[in-house]
Amino acid sequence: MYRMLYPKIEMKKILIVLVFTVLHIEAKEVTFTEHVAPIIFQNCTSCHRPGESGPFKLMNYNDVSKRGKLIARVTEDRVMPPWHAQKGSIKFHGDRSLSDTQITTINKWVETGMPEGDPSKLPNLPKFVTGWQLGEPDLVVKMAEPFPVPAAGRDIYRSFVVPLNLPKDKWLKAIEFRPDARTVVHHCLFSYDTTGEARRLDKREKSPGFRRMRRQGTGIGQLGGWAAGGQPNKLPEDLAWRLPSNADLVLAMHYHPSGKPEKDQSSIGLYFTDQPPKTAFTGLQLPPVFGALSGIYIPAGEKAYTVRDSFTLPIDVEAFAVSAHAHYLGKKLSMNATLPNGKQLNLLNIPDWDFSWQEQYHFEEFINLPKGTKLESTVVWDNSSSNPNNPSVPPKPVRWGPESEDEMGSLTLLCRPGKGESFSTLTSLYRKHISETGVRTARQRAGRIRENNIDDRLNAFFKRTDRNGNGKIELDEAPNWMKASFARSDTNRDKTLDFGELKAATERLRNRNR
């Protein structure tokens, strides 16, 4: 008996020892210098160092360990680093998101008491470029005067005009934005204006800047944007924007009060090229015009109001970037491509839209989308009171509009025509798509108005006819032309017509006349 038991106990002991060693190794494994510092230095320190947007520095053991628990929480919730595109098969340039393994490593380190580890294993801090990330710009301009941002209150949207005084038309490769009051500048959209509208609007208002550009179209063009923490990107290969010599730069800024009064006078660097591009590029926006033609009407309380749009490519294209736009109520934005061979590509998926971090997502490489590819975009808004971003408490019905409390929603794919393909085929068919979208919505709206009108007119008729006001039309109240079909319309046979019966009768009549 004894002899049989003995080896068993031994086995158990060995097992226990084994398990403990494994745990011990695991616990001992995760240290700051060897495992955590590389993650932090590569993914966090670019913003979390003096002079950058992060609220504190994350540059050594003390900086990180004293905030360990918080760091574990915000990385696990994927609040930090800020990056809202979901990981998919397509790689984005400058993807900041952490991998699941990196998040687990940080968590494990925090759970096991945040050991510092062997100091000799500490990696060097990366060499951060100070100043302009894309190198010395060809032209640096600045907002004409500082704009005051108060300590508290709602977000501020303000546009500023910056004259460029170019000697001649230029090919623009990139715009780099240097925020001045970093804690309050959240994003900035660039456009150019040759119509003088921006200057006029600017003059009209006393305080620096103006509310926003009213006009779009000829003489005004979009030039991308910048969002807090975003990296500037040069347009790939030989692509460039044409910037007319008489263009003013227009900055549409979004400020977010930080708790402390600030003044902002941000700078902009422009990068030119002398080499004209071989092809033009364009943005395919779905739904077009930021959703203006899609009849957006989001009822109060609606949790998932959805607009979809699709466009089939008439030529081969090469896509290089995608961006999304919505206001506060935006919830999910995504764009998919179905290739002619049936293959699905998820071009962008933002499952939890955050208005504060608008960003253009550049693909690492051009993506070939052959002729016949169906692009589909989906925008979902949440106008319920459970959406913390809802600017209205209680929720109000919201329509399309340019103010931040109106809504917009669309995704834009930037692409150039494939080799030997015709750019004008693409743009003319896309323009056709725009007008078709408008016509479709107008038809639906007209239909709705017709419905509403009929109801209104019917109501008025009912009230007029129901002279004794008992909510029913008796036979003697009915006009002569109605008497003939009275019995047939009285479906519940109570010798009177209620509103429902009247409506059904009219509908029957309308259908017969169609």
Partner: protein, 189 residues
């Protein structure tokens, strides 16, 4: 079990060991940032403490509301701002108080965590109300933050204002404790 539900579990577990109702020593004496000796809990008036650090963005976004509360209940409460990061330099403290307009508010650098321990505070910006040596409220200032990175456009619950109003009128605090979103108070080394 997901991490979220684990967090919820831990929070409810912590709630069982809750510190509201805890007794703090009324004779405790500390120095404020100007070097003056004060007894934070000795007065007959209720004390309202806000825990903060100079660099927690969540707490800093709450400064306008902190100032608003200090002003609107002036004279009726003993309002204290408690800096909790022992690494805070004199310069960081001075700059923060000046930039955020906090010079008028009695502030304490709690480098030994006397007040943190006395009240059980864990988060910045957590608020604590103490009256006659008893913790009557510990929790968030309002519901500005739904979660990390998710500020509300419109604040709909003013937990601290409601709690102060209740305490001042001798009523029971409707919600004496609640989860507070913010930065964790750094541990002492």
């Amino acid at each position: 079990m997901g991490k979220k539900s684990l967090t919820v579990l831990i929070i409810s577990w912590l709630a069982a060991f809750d510190l509201t109702g805890q007794i703090v020593k009324t004779e405790l004496t500390i120095k404020d940032v100007s070097g003056k000796s004060i007894k934070p809990f000795s007065e007959a008036k209720p004390s309202v403490l806000i825990f903060t650090t100079y660099d927690c963005p969540v707490a800093n976004k709450m400064v306008p509301e902190i100032r608003h509360i200090a002003n609107s209940y002036q004279g009726r409460i003993n309002f204290l701002l408690v800096y909790t990061d022992p690494d805070t330099s004199q310069n960081e403290l001075t700059t923060h108080r000046k930039d955020f307009g906090l010079n008028e508010i009695t502030s304490i650098l709690d480098s030994k965590h006397n007040l943190v321990k006395a009240t059980g505070a864990e988060i910045t910006p957590e608020a604590v109300i103490v009256k006659k040596g008893k913790v009557l409220y510990r929790g968030r200032i309002n519901n500005f933050y739904e979660d990390f990175g998710k500020p509300r456009r419109v604040v709909t619950q003013h937990d601290l204002r409601d709690a102060i109003t209740a305490v001042l009128s001798g009523k029971k605090v409707p919600q004496p404790k609640g989860e507070c979103i913010g930065c964790y108070i750094p541990k002492l080394k």
